[in-house]
Structure formats: structure tokens, C-alpha cells
Symmetry: C2
Subunit: 463 residues, 2 copies
């Protein structure tokens, strides 16, 4: 690797080839705090530099791992000592904003929150939102097809990307910087790079779609008597709120109870009495009209027996209080640790049966085991947290089998929004058929025959 590093230094500058302690001190996984083990870290300052880097790596057969904000949850940032990390940290510019067309052109290393703020300065919104917003980058959001709490209204990252530029394994720059909502001129190549976790190319720039700013946000926490109430409420709110349903997050009682009264970490706005608690939000342009529509929709849901009780946030503080219960991951960790967390999706009607089955299976094997369920229900996405008092590899495997096992039959997915990376690679076949995996391999071979890009992520490298 030494000779190659010299050539790379000539491209990006000596200061942008990091080795030794500078590599080791980087954490590639925020949950475990694992340090970077790569042979070196290279920091190109432009697409041209990155292309030159990849041409050299391609010629040398040098495998590469791409780093964005390192907030992923499936060990996608891990690199072996014989691998080179390419970090996009110097390519973080917000290049331009078109307020008429509602687009923003950015480099891949731009942090999500900076993009959100830049849009807000022009009275527009970049609607993707998730907890890691301060650190995660647009390139990482694209590579993992990030989800979050606004998917029911605006879709996943895939829907926010109008165009992108990527560097292939051989250094070819594929520029597909489309700025229009409609463009059917040949294959939509950007789709290849969205959600493929950096295994088919390195995303360098993107054209993002912006949305009009919604001035008014109404938030309620409601309790449902049963799962039919939850699904009935989802349909009811979708219909009654028109296009303005912004969030539909469900906490199973085990989540709600643990993070309010049981732990004392948050105030319970509603008593712990019902099986499901839902955070519903409506995004509108006008405060009075939005509040009236939202209130009426909740009232008719109450009359229809879909909900048992409801509390409307009357202030930002109250709104935050409701969200704190849902987002109190630290509380989960504190009370369930050692903790295994999962991110699955499955057809909504199958959810209650699935959750019950999990609980029984966990309790059967670990009588003191705890399971907590919450999720972006409107998206078919559940986050399952399991604590059984042990975090050993064998225990992890056993829990994984219980959580992932039933998904195959239900047509569910072992990864709703986090991706596969290394962590879920062994379970990919539960969610995808042999033909699908073969086709994934066909694509990988076609675009990266030497398996240089994020080797062994999603699929084990061939040969």
C-alpha cells in the first residue's frame, strides 16, 4: 500500500492522506465506539481528485471503504487493515439553490442539518429528518436511502434526489445531475447508487428536491384500544387530513410505560392503560385552519371508537415532551442494556401478531427478557429493542433468529431503513429470494468486477 499512498498523496496532498494514529482515533461505529482499522484515510477535495484516487486504486486492485458522517447502524464504515478509507469530509459545499424549481445542489459530504438550514433560509424545506441530522451526510443518506420520521408524508431519501454524480470503481465519473421532476431519457441511473450502500459507486454530488415550508404543525398523542383502532386511525387521519398527515408513530405499551412511569424519565401525558400510543402530526400552511382540521379529525376518531383518549400539544414544550418519549433511545439503553436493536418492516396488518410472537419467544427462552416495540407504523417499519441480560455473540444470534425468522413468511424485511452493511448480511436471504440475490451479484459484477467498493458489505465478495 506504501507506493500507492505516495501516488495518492500526489493527487490529494500529503496532509490529506492520514495514517497511523490519525486513522486509529476515528470511530467507525458510534454505538460500539469501534476505532478505524483501515490502512489509511484519503480525503479528496473534489470529484476530479476522487476520480483520480479511484483510477489509482483500480489499477492497484486496492479495496476502498467510503466514509460519510459515520452515523450508520450496520457497520458499513468498518474497514480492514488492507482497505483504504475514502472520506468525503472535504467535499461538503452547498453549491447552489434554485428557489423557483425548488432544488439544491450539494456535495456529498454536506451534513443533513446544514442542508435543512440552507433550505430554511430560502423559506423552503428539505424534508428528510432523522436523529443523526447534525453529523450524517447527504452522501450517506443517499447511499443508505435514509428514512426517518417524515416518510409517510415525503418518502424516503430516494424521493428527495433528483440527480446525482457518482464515481465508479474504475474512476469513471457518471454525472446525472438532473434538476427536473420528470426525466425519462433512458435508464434512471441514479437509482443504482441510492440505497446500495456505496457498493456500486461513490456518490459525490446531488441535486435535492426541496418542498414548500409548512408554517403550522399540530401534534397529538393518542391512545388506541386495540390494533384495529391503530390501523383504523391511520386510514381515518390519512383521509381526513388530506395531504397534511406528517407523522404516524406508534409506541407499544411496553415502550410507552418503560420510558414514562416505569423509568421516571418522562412525564406520561396519558395514563398507562391502553395497548397502543400514537403520535400523530399534521403539517399545514395556516395555523388556524390546520388546527381546526386536526381537531375535527381527532374528534371524529374518538366518536368512531378508534381512539380512547388524546392530548394535543399546546406548545413546543408539550410537543417536545411527547416526542421525548418516542425518541428516548438513551432511556432504552439505560434500562434494557445490554441491548439488541432491530429495524424491520412488514405488512401493517401482520404487526400485532408478529410483536406478540416475538414477546412470547423471548420470554420463553429468557423469562426476564424485555422487549420494547415502537415504529414508523405508517411506513410498515418497526424498531424492536430486546434486552436479555447478555450480549454475547451466541445470544445475539439467538435473538436475531427470533426477530428475523418470522419475516420471511410475512414478506417482511430485515432492514426497513438502516441497510444491510455487515450486520444483517447473513440474514439478507430471509428477505430476498435467490434470484434477487443473484441479480444483485450481477449488478455488482457489472459495476465493480474487482469488488473494490465497500467489499463484503451487503454481499460477501466473490472469488
Amino acid at each position: 500500500m506504501e507506493a500507492l499512498l505516495k501516488e495518492l498523496a500526489a493527487v490529494v496532498g500529503t496532509g490529506n492522506v492520514l495514517t497511523g494514529e490519525d486513522v486509529r482515533q476515528r470511530r467507525v461505529d458510534w454505538m460500539s465506539g469501534t476505532n478505524c482499522r483501515a490502512g489509511a484515510i484519503v480525503r479528496p477535495g473534489s470529484t476530479d481528485e476522487l476520480a483520480a484516487v479511484m483510477r489509482l486504486c483500480h489499477a492497484a486492485g486496492q479495496p476502498v471503504v467510503t466514509h460519510g458522517g459515520l452515523t450508520g447502524l450496520v457497520h458499513g464504515g468498518e474497514a480492514d487493515p488492507d482497505e483504504l478509507v475514502v472520506s468525503l469530509e472535504r467535499m461538503s459545499a452547498i453549491e447552489s439553490i434554485d428557489t423557483v424549481g425548488g432544488t439544491m445542489t450539494v456535495q456529498a459530504g454536506a451534513a443533513l442539518q446544514r442542508v435543512q438550514e440552507a433550505a430554511a433560509e430560502h423559506d423552503l424545506v428539505f424534508p428528510l429528518d432523522l436523529g443523526a441530522r447534525g453529523s450524517c451526510t447527504i452522501g450517506g443518506n443517499i447511499a443508505t436511502n435514509a428514512g426517518g420520521v417524515r416518510v409517510i408524508r415525503y418518502g424516503m431519501m430516494r424521493q428527495q434526489v433528483l440527480g446525482l454524480e457518482a464515481v465508479l470503481a474504475d474512476g469513471t465519473v457518471v454525472g446525472s445531475m438532473n434538476r427536473m421532476l420528470k426525466n425519462n431519457a433512458g435508464y434512471d441511473l441514479k437509482q443504482l447508487f441510492i440505497g446500495s450502500e456505496g457498493t456500486l459507486g461513490i456518490v459525490t454530488r446531488a441535486v435535492l428536491r426541496l418542498q414548500p415550508r409548512m408554517a403550522s404543525e399540530c401534534t397529538a398523542l393518542v391512545a388506541c384500544p386495540d390494533f384495529d383502532g391503530v390501523t383504523g386511525l391511520l386510514r381515518h387521519m390519512g383521509r381526513e387530513l388530506g395531504g397534511s398527515l406528517g407523522t404516524f408513530e406508534v409506541m407499544w405499551r411496553n415502550h410507552y410505560a418503560l420510558l414514562t412511569e416505569e423509568s421516571g424519565r418522562n412525564t406520561a401525558p396519558l395514563p398507562i392503560r391502553w395497548p397502543y400510543y400514537v403520535i400523530v402530526e399534521s403539517l399545514g400552511s395556516d395555523d388556524a385552519a390546520n388546527a381546526a382540521q386536526f381537531g375535527a379529525a381527532l374528534e371524529s376518531a374518538l366518536e368512531a371508537g378508534l381512539i380512547e383518549d388524546a392530548v394535543l400539544a399546546q406548545s413546543d414544550t408539550q410537543r417536545q415532551g411527547i416526542w421525548n418519549i418516542r425518541e428516548d433511545i438513551e432511556g432504552l439503553i439505560a434500562y434494557l442494556s445490554p441491548l439488541f436493536t432491530f429495524d424491520v418492516s412488514l405488512p401493517i396488518p401482520d404487526m400485532p401478531g408478529y410483536a406478540e410472537k416475538l414477546e412470547c419467544a423471548i420470554r420463553e427462552r429468557w423469562p426476564d427478557g424485555r422487549i420494547v416495540v415502537f415504529g414508523h407504523l405508517g411506513d410498515g417499519n418497526l424498531h424492536v429493542s430486546v434486552g436479555v441480560g447478555d450480549s454475547g455473540a451466541d445470544t445475539r444470534r439467538a435473538v436475531e433468529r427470533i426477530v428475523y425468522g418470522p419475516l420471511a413468511e410475512l414478506g417482511g424485511s430485515v432492514s426497513a431503513e438502516h441497510g444491510i452493511g455487515l450486520e444483517k448480511r447473513d440474514y439478507l436471504a430471509l428477505s430476498r429470494s435467490a434470484e434477487e440475490i443473484a441479480l444483485m451479484r450481477t449488478l455488482k459484477r457489472a459495476l465493480d468486477p474487482q469488488s473494490l467498493l465497500n467489499r463484503n458489505k451487503i454481499l460477501v465478495a466473490e472469488g
Copy 2:
């Protein structure tokens, strides 16, 4: 082909292998009325039958053209005598509807309108909509990534597809029938088949996303003083209507004038005095609230000088009267014939300059030439119609050069929603770089190395 047809008949039944006059009488292009020239038409009744058909064709090196509803506009349905047509007409079932998850599972041959109606029976909406709804099929909508008049609200066909099943050139069935909004388990393979015009696989089934029904629809025709007014209005309505802006269609004066007073074909709800006329629609759940919000948004637009005049549809008849002006393609044909029609997209701020340039260039060469422009402006999509009194091949080429030429510099697209097919193949390089086209070829080679599927469509077959 004789021996192969016998084998195919054994798979699909003799009655489902059409030859001779049964082939000739089919029209593959509704605008020109061109008859089918294929060697035969095969009609499989199931995915398994289609897979067997493709296995036989693959073994025989037999090229195949897929037929859906044959409403395409770029000659994608044309077939040479040495080609075999595979028609999906017997695979038109609506298999199931999940009213909770809001999904519908259909076979590819189902007509769009039947899908819309089946959703409506469950108080849900399948939001893709376009003029050919009665004949076009879901498989064709997917293969061409169809657009239409609701893209600004719901996106193109790509966004309506949660899962799909496709048969590859070698007969492999790739089932990716995902039913969840979120699924990041490996590459999103369905994206390969959406918008690739049947060149990478034959779509056989799909899981479609349904939306809540919007009970209230407000429609207005407004006149803008200039293009800044049009773009200002687009932003204004986006912001003021929140999520409920459903349509933003713009007619240049040349379109509006021709199809109202000049031709006498439609009543002009507003005088012919301004350069731009816009159809704006708001989709809401409640009539009174929607109308109030819509009226207030238009009023403030008037006060802000974004619009000069406006008429609100007070009935379905009035609404239809407004849409008739926009959709009077027969009128266009009658008055401009022989007519060349185009479907381009470009960044919205560049539109007025582009349209003016076109008009000058056409008039310079054909002093009596006519050019008419309308489009889904919110989507960056313009439909341009040109009549110069002649429809010869040389004239067509000359007009095409004028219409497509400026797009390269603007980052525009020679096809916003119709696709490339045969018609725009020679112009693909205006909208896509050499690296992009090379990557398209890489994909084609990887999935269909013999170039059996829709040969020569989008790209000229290699070798």
C-alpha cells in the same frame, strides 16, 4: 421461427400464438395507426408461462417485443418481422387489495382505469392519471415510468410502485413483491425495471401504493402577467396550500388562444390578453375548508400581483370546460396538422427563454410555422407542438434539431415522460453524457447480453 412457435404453442396453447392477419391487424402505434409487423404474437397466461416462453426464446436467440396497452408515443411497440411479440393481455387480474396498508397487487396487463376503479371501490385512490387511462396498462406505466397530471402531488409511476415481479431475458423470474413503504434490504431491484422501457426485463406483476381518497377538488384558471408571475404563483400556491396542491398546468397564450377563440372549439373563461394561463387545483378532504384555503391563496396571489385575473370552477361542468382547453389534443391536430409533438423537460427558470427561442427559430425557417406550448410546469415538463405545413422526414429532423438542440446546454431532457423508444434514440446523447450511456450499455449487457428484449429501443443493439 416455425419450430420455436410450435414449442411456444405447447406452453401457452395454440390459440395464444397468433400469426398472419391476426398479427397484421394489430396497431402498434395509435397516432400513426401503424400495423404490427412481428413474426407472431404470443399471449402467456401466467408468469410461469411467460418464464417458459422466455427460456425458449433465450435458447433460440429469439428477440422479443413486449406489448401492453400500445398507447406509447415513441414507437416502443414496433416489431420487425424477425421479432416475436409477447402480449400481456391475458395477465390482467387485480389480485388483492390491502386497505390497511394501502396497497394493491395486480398483474401487469391490468388497465390503469380498472386499477383506479378498484381502488375507488375501497374508498382509496390510485393517483397516477393520464389520458390513455382506459387502454394503457400498469405494466406499460411501469416500463415507461408514466407521468401525467398529478406528478406534482403524487410523483411519477416510480413512486407508486412498492414491489414488482419481472421475467429476465433468460426466463429467470425475479420476484420483488415488497408491500412496505420502507425496505432497505439490499439493492432496490425494482428500480431497474421502472422506466427502462422493457429493455431489461418484462414486468409481470406489481404491488402498487394507494392513497387516501380526497373528497374535495378545487379548480381555477388564472392568468399571469409574466413568467415571474407564473413561478411566483407556483411557489405561493405550494406554500399556501400546504400538501394539497394537486395540479399546476400552464398554457402559453399560443395554446390558450388557438383552442378557444381562434378555433372556436372551447369557450374562453378568461379573455385572451395575457401571456400565460395556469390551471391550479387543490385536493382536500373537506369541501368547505379546501375551498376557503384555495380562495384565500388565490386572493393573496392577486394582491401580490402574481396573477391578473382568475376564474374558479363552480361545477364539474365548469371544471371540465377549463380542462378541455388544456387537453384538446384533437384541436391541436386539426389546426396544426401535419403536426410534430414533443415532450421535453428543463429547469423551470429557463422555460420562457427556451420557448421564445423555439418560436423565433421556427418562424425564421418557416414564416407560417406555428408553435404551441403547454405543460406540467410544476414538473419542469413542457409539451411543444409544431406545425410547419410538412411532415417529411427531413422536415421532422430539422424541427427536432430546433426543439432538442438547446436542451443540452440547459441540462434539459429530450423526454420528460414519454420515454425514448425508437423515436428519440438518436437524441439521447443530447440529454445524457457518454459515461451515462456507457453505463446504460453495461446494465443492458449484464441483464440481457443477447439483446433479446425490445432490441434497439433506447439504445441501438451492439454487435
